[in-house]
Symmetry: C2
């Protein structure tokens, strides 16, 4: 047992977050800076992990170290835990490596018992304070350590107040507090069949253990999952001498930020309460005062505090969020940490600090969380209205932004209502490609099924539309024109609101405020662009999306899904005719009809991108996705196509697949029906030639991407089809034009044999959505059925469709990168899966050495910043 | 152009098969041995590949070399191509590295033209012979080189015969032959608008090119696919001086085997025709004589031939299949090769040759094709009856053997009819697990859909039942009690016959003869067992299959699919009750009912295997596979279960998955419902304890296999569930028993992270079926829709579900093997996919260093031999 599990505050500093947790490291840091921090010590995160390894017990070695440090604390403070004459009271607080506010447990006033309470009453000459502190301790200890319901304690307080005919806690006098202590203890004994512990060391060990345990309480697990914090980190525990803000009117407590966390304004921002303990500020029973007013109430403490805040900001080179207590006029610092802030504030603070000469632009770039930028690009709810609203359900925050509109249940309705200038929310069991137009005109999309990477989510993110998905609480009765949540019916035409950033659903209209990009944004993003080496492209299927992405700074398109345009307007008819064709000749006739549409789409996209590179992926989904599924539509289609209903049904049934994800799709289609690839090549090349003619300086070189390749022979076959058509068209034109043929790497086998494939490919684009599915062996549509169990049982901590699985899927990406470059050293490598917009995955792409990432338009700014951060972190 | 593309026969020898093809190498070999081989030369397989590389032209360098060797041939033979005085006639024959009898083209009598024919007539004093040779040449050349239909030539012959009032070709006289020559040339000119080539060198180049081209004719491609011959091998071309068996009665031609190819008897076996060319023997117009009779007809040639056959067999150390021609009493050898033989003959010859001291046991083992053993284990058609039968369709030879029975269309019918001792063939669109009992009582299974690895195929192979699958020619009208092929209806109760080794379907009853294993078999297999290092286990789900496999020499069970027993009898009710359960408690009640059934199954299997190791895989398929699909059954089930129909429907619909292959199955089930794994563990451990009590010497140590693991955390979780139950049960018993927990490696990610997984696993079993699906990204159920296109377009040459894809999937297997052993050096490694019974895949497993393969019972002998051959080839 030589390992050191406990550190006195002045043994550490702020660089020791991993070991001491954020709070512990910063308490140590402030101590070192000579700031007034109450004495204390930190039990390390390693002790927490050891606790779990020892089957949730604190082993004797660690116990011994804690007792040694308790000794030291008692010596320094001149007080003793449980001492009759001069008792020490301590707080016991959690503190993980990453800030997890409110997620874990805190116990104040520990060390209280019958004798100590009396002593404190005498020493402070404040009986009410002593017993108030005592009853608070019993409450917290019973809840946190013993798991008794908080509610019953509140009820007891209410009963005492009722007896006394008062309503305000502040009106409870010393006698009342004493009575509460007795009632609480009686309740404790009745529930647990044992006395409330009087022995302070027993209390201390119980509290420490409770903090360790709280690392795995459900809300902490949930918070970790949301914020990608590994469960292996553990939490530290801080044991600190209590200082009291509630000992009288020369006492107080408060929280403050060195700058305004909402706007970023460089002005101390915060609030305080005199004669109160920290929890009172949070509880909101009394209205706190603005921090400025402290100058009048406690001028000495205020001046000390202001000086400290400046020192802290300069030292930490970041905006600080601090807690303090004033005991008998003397200031004590209880906490400092980098403050949470809005995106807008983050940008302003970063730019201001650069201007103030406090930080470098690299530091500024590292200061803003890339994901935060999202909120600048989407409408948000009016903050005041939002405060008043209560969600009727919460589901997955699938695509950010705020939306408010009237319920519709189909894409058709959405289009119809939108054409009348009605704002609508499209509510569906799940969406399909046929719904795209309806999704486009809706304010937001709400689905009952599907996860963060369902069709609705992916498409909505691409559009920048708000989407909440997978709301299992909804009982759908769309046939009858309503859905039900918790027994309440919401009818067609009723107003609802969606928050795509939280997943909240509201049963009423909430005002939204439009997105606003400040001047800081552009300046900041320019720094990012200068710093990063990874290029950022976008996934865009329409000229509209392409234009949007271009405005957001995309340096090209990494993925045009050609089939996403197949559903628009009348096109689907020609597409269906193509699918139902029995011979290549028939198919060619139908393809002739699709050709001009595809060509004009591609022209539009080339125009929107103004000469930036555009990678066009050939037809990918299984053909049956384009056929109707209900019998009315099928009958209609048969009529349209002049074929027998039975014949059509037989075609549809022949296209049925057991596992469509692993069926006849991608390049497999081009191999069975090369005429499709011929038509698509014609459209791409003709479009590029036409745009080049109009804009000779753009020098467009089409990039043609063959999907779902698993063997070089597949690529070779399709490439020949492409080149035969393309070369002929270019020869026939008056112009010279280069073009490039590459492939997706989205089948594990393609990654394993990338050296062979690279010989035929000018570029690889990692399709990490499919690659994740195949590598894990689960489909993202079906994984919802069991992934929750995986999170609950801590088998998975992250959604591999949201964050690239670097160990597994990433190993394939790395392998393919190395193999590909081994036979084709200057092959261009990119990623176009959903992961292309995820900061952690972007960092991985940078490390592996890809040339670009491609993501949905609204994630382009995020990717630009994430790429810059990766460069700062790894390119020294 | 320095490369040597042409070899004179005496420049090579029989080791040069790759370059010269089998025929060329053996002609060279015989020349070297001083045997009478007509002069000639071989154009290499590399020339063929070059021909394809040069866009199907023979380049000038190769042409020059051919002409040089023609020169040489003319000098040696003293004759000249096209010479008026002493013309050379040659044969041009294909000869690939592997024997592909009848697959490619041959041209005889090349060099014939008007002048030459006259000269030959004069020289031989046999005008009929000369013009007969000429017209034969025109026929062959027109067909092979120019692609004219053979049929029209036959019609012309028939017309001439009709004019002359004769019916037999032999009655055609010299004048008739001359007339045929003219008529043939006229037809040629009419069709091709050009004269039949008179210039012999032009004929020669055309013929050589035609042979190259024939490498890619459809029947050659088909043959290669059936026999796993890569298209990259190419064919060589042999140009050889003609010798004539049809120049008179002192001439003749014949084929012979050094031993009887049907029985293996050590006695020259063959037949010959006097005054005939080779094709006449094959064509069967005249009945050939037995080879013995040659002793009387041409005693000198016979004695020479017998001496040569003995020399050849000793030299090649294998039974030879030879062609010879006698020209004017002199024997010429035209070909020798290792003779094809029946399995029975193969075993006898191998054993006899060992006894004769001719070969070693290793050589004997290498002499038998492992797949051949199959035919010894299954019934076969009576050869005479089979000759008379014409197949009505041909589909996939899914499971070998011959079957004959009356048509039934459902498993129920099959059971009913079989109970009346009727022999039935079960005809289904496709089979499902519910059909197992019906499949068991049927003689054979015929399915309309599904490939070589469909449910029907896999299960049938497991049972050793005959199965023909994927017969798309069938129009199914089972509701009306018949199916249709080519407009002919086959009704319920009609007799049909299936050949599971060829895929042929016959519309009548054909007698079958039962399987017979001779004494040679056991002796031979003992040699194999002594030689091999790879252990051979079996995949068996029932005591019956286990017993069968044990008889075939299985050294344990590598895979018990626990769920395969779920459909038997009443069990499915309890299984469905388990699935429909809403709480773990309800589920446990249902599982309690399943427990005794599973336990007794496992006891039966342990008994059957008599102490050999048994690996039991836990529940794997998605649960919805066990639920009924048609509404009658659903209603019935709701009644049985006492739950509402809507409720049941909602459960069924909630279990629906888009891609069930990638859904909630395998260990994912055990993670969501650990109580299932608990029940299965209880069954396994209790069964093993009970059998160990009865047979203490067996010392059974259960092997528990967790399927579909993709992350070590999954295995860790389920392993804990297993161990908690198992340890408790063992402790409670009076006995000590070890058990082992391992995992399938069937998800690409598991292979990539095998080092981590190996820390928790005592063994890996590669599930190469799923691993192939995930690595290629196509499901075997759906791949049928496009794999045919892949074969047609030469993108794939092999079915990756039949033969392990060594480059891609094999790379993962190798990686997992190395990673696994890196952290767990003595981990046990095996394979239990369908590939475990495929000789090429077994060889791969040996090379990679696995400990065992596991295959269906009827493939156990094949695997034993293939493993021995791998050891002989690679363990020097």
């Amino acid at each position: 047992m030589d390992k050191k599990y406990v550190y006195e505050f002045n043994e550490g500093d702020e660089t020791m977050r991993e070991l001491l947790g954020g709070k512990g490291a910063n308490l140590a840091g402030m101590s070192k800076l000579g700031m007034p921090v109450p004495y204390g010590f930190t039990i390390t995160t390693e002790a927490c992990n050891q606790y779990y390894e020892d089957n949730e017990t604190i082993n004797d070695g660690i116990k011994t170290q804690i007792m040694e440090y308790l000794d030291l604390l008692e010596k320094k403070s001149g007080k003793k835990l449980g001492d009759e004459a001069n008792p020490l009271l301590v707080s016991v607080r959690s503190g993980a490596r990453a800030s997890m506010p409110g997620m874990m447990d805190t116990i104040l006033n520990l060390g209280m018992n019958k004798t100590v309470a009396e002593t404190v009453a005498n020493l402070t000459n404040n009986e009410r304070f002593a017993y108030d502190s005592y009853r608070r301790f019993i409450q917290m200890y019973s809840d946190v350590v013993m798991g008794l319901s908080k509610k019953r304690f509140e009820e007891i307080i209410d009963e005492v107040k009722a007896e006394r005919g008062i309503t305000d806690d502040l009106d409870l006098n010393a006698e009342d507090m004493k009575k509460l202590v007795e009632l609480f203890k009686a309740f404790y004994k009745n529930e647990l069949k044992s006395e409330f512990p009087e022995e302070p060391k027993e209390q201390l060990m119980g509290a420490i253990e409770a903090v360790f345990r709280s690392w795995n309480n459900p809300r902490a697990i949930y918070y970790r999952k949301m914020n990608d914090i590994p469960s292996s980190w553990g939490t530290a525990v801080n044991v600190q001498m209590m200082v009291f803000g509630n000992m009288g009117n020369d006492c107080g407590t408060g929280v403050a930020f060195t700058r305004n966390p909402s706007t970023g304004e460089n002005k101390l921002y915060g609030e305080f309460l005199m004669n109160a303990q920290g929890e009172d500020v949070v509880a909101g029973i009394r209205t706190p005062q603005k921090i400025d007013q402290l100058k009048e109430v406690a001028p000495g403490a205020y001046d000390d505090f202001v000086a400290i805040t400046k020192k802290l900001e300069t030292h930490y080179r970041n905006m600080q969020d601090m807690e303090f207590t004033i005991e008998k006029g003397k200031l004590f610092m209880l906490q400092t940490r980098n403050g949470k802030r809005t995106a807008q504030a983050a940008l302003k603070i970063a730019c201001d600090m650069v201007d103030e000469g406090m930080i470098t632009t690299d530091e500024a770039l590292m200061m803003v969380e890339p994901k935060q930028l999202d909120s600048l690009l989407h409408p948000m709810f009016d903050a005041d209205e939002l405060k008043k609203a209560e969600p009727i359900a919460t589901a997955l925050p699938a695509s950010p932004g705020a939306a408010c509109g009237q319920i519709v249940f189909s894409a058709e309705e959405a289009i119809q209502e939108a054409s009348r200038n009605h704002k609508v929310i499209l509510v569906r069991l799940e969406t399909s490609p046929e719904d795209i137009e309806g999704m486009h005109v809706s304010q937001g999309i709400l689905t009952v099924r599907g996860g963060m990477t369902s069709h609705a989510a992916v498409v909505a993110r691409g559009m920048g539309a708000c989407c909440v998905s997978g709301c299992g609480d909804i009982n759908m009765h769309d046939d009858e024109g309503y859905f039900e949540i918790d027994g309440v019916k919401y009818h067609r035409g009723d107003w609802i609101s969606l928050d795509g950033s939280t997943g909240n659903i509201y049963g009423s209209a909430i005002k939204t405020v439009p997105a606003s990009i400040s001047g800081d944004f552009e300046r900041f993003m320019n720094w990012a662009d200068e710093r990063r080496t990874l290029k950022v492209r976008t996934n865009a299927d329409t000229p509209h999306d392409a234009k949007q992405a271009h405005e957001f700074g995309a340096q090209g398109i990494g993925l045009v899904r050609t089939e996403h345009m197949f559903f628009e307007g009348d096109r689907i008819k020609a597409v269906r005719e193509m699918i139902v064709s029995k011979t290549a000749a028939q198919r060619r006739v139908a393809l002739e009809k699709i050709l001009p549409m595809q060509r004009s789409d591609f022209e539009g996209i080339y125009e929107a991108m103004q000469g930036l590179p555009v990678t066009i992926r050939y037809l990918d989904p299984p053909l049956h996705e384009f056929l109707p599924t209900n019998s009315y539509d099928i009958t209609q289609l048969a009529k349209d196509m002049h074929i027998g209903l039975d014949e059509l049904k037989s075609v549809i049934s022949s296209l049925h697949e057991f596992n469509p994800m692993m069926g006849h799709r991608g390049c497999r289609l081009a191999i069975s029906y090369p005429e499709i690839a011929e038509m698509q090549t014609t459209a791409v090349i003709q479009a590029a030639l036409a745009v080049n003619e109009r804009h000779p300086d753009w020098k467009i070189e089409p990039e043609i991407m063959i999907p779902l390749v698993g063997d070089v022979a597949e690529l070779r076959y399709v490439k020949k089809v492409v080149c035969d058509v393309a070369d002929k068209l270019i020869q026939e034109s008056e112009f010279d034009m280069k073009y490039h043929v590459g492939t997706m790497i989205e089948i594990p086998r393609a990654a394993l044999l990338a050296d062979e494939i690279a010989k035929e490919a000018e570029f690889f684009s990692f399709g990490t959505n499919d690659l994740t599915q195949m590598t894990f062996g689960f489909s993202r549509d079906d994984a919802g059925g069991f992934l929750q169990d995986y999170y609950d049982k801590k088998i998975f901590e992250q959604d591999p469709f949201a964050h690239l699985d670097q160990r597994g899927v990433g190993k394939l990406v790395k392998m393919a990168t190395e193999l590909g470059r081994s036979t084709h050293p200057n092959i261009k490598l990119g990623i176009c899966g959903e992961h292309g917009g995820d900061p952690a995955s972007i960092e991985f792409c940078h490390r592996v050495g890809l040339n670009y990432v491609s993501c949905s338009p609204y994630r382009v700014p995020i990717a630009r910043l994430a790429a810059a951060q990766a460069a700062i972190k790894f390119d020294k």
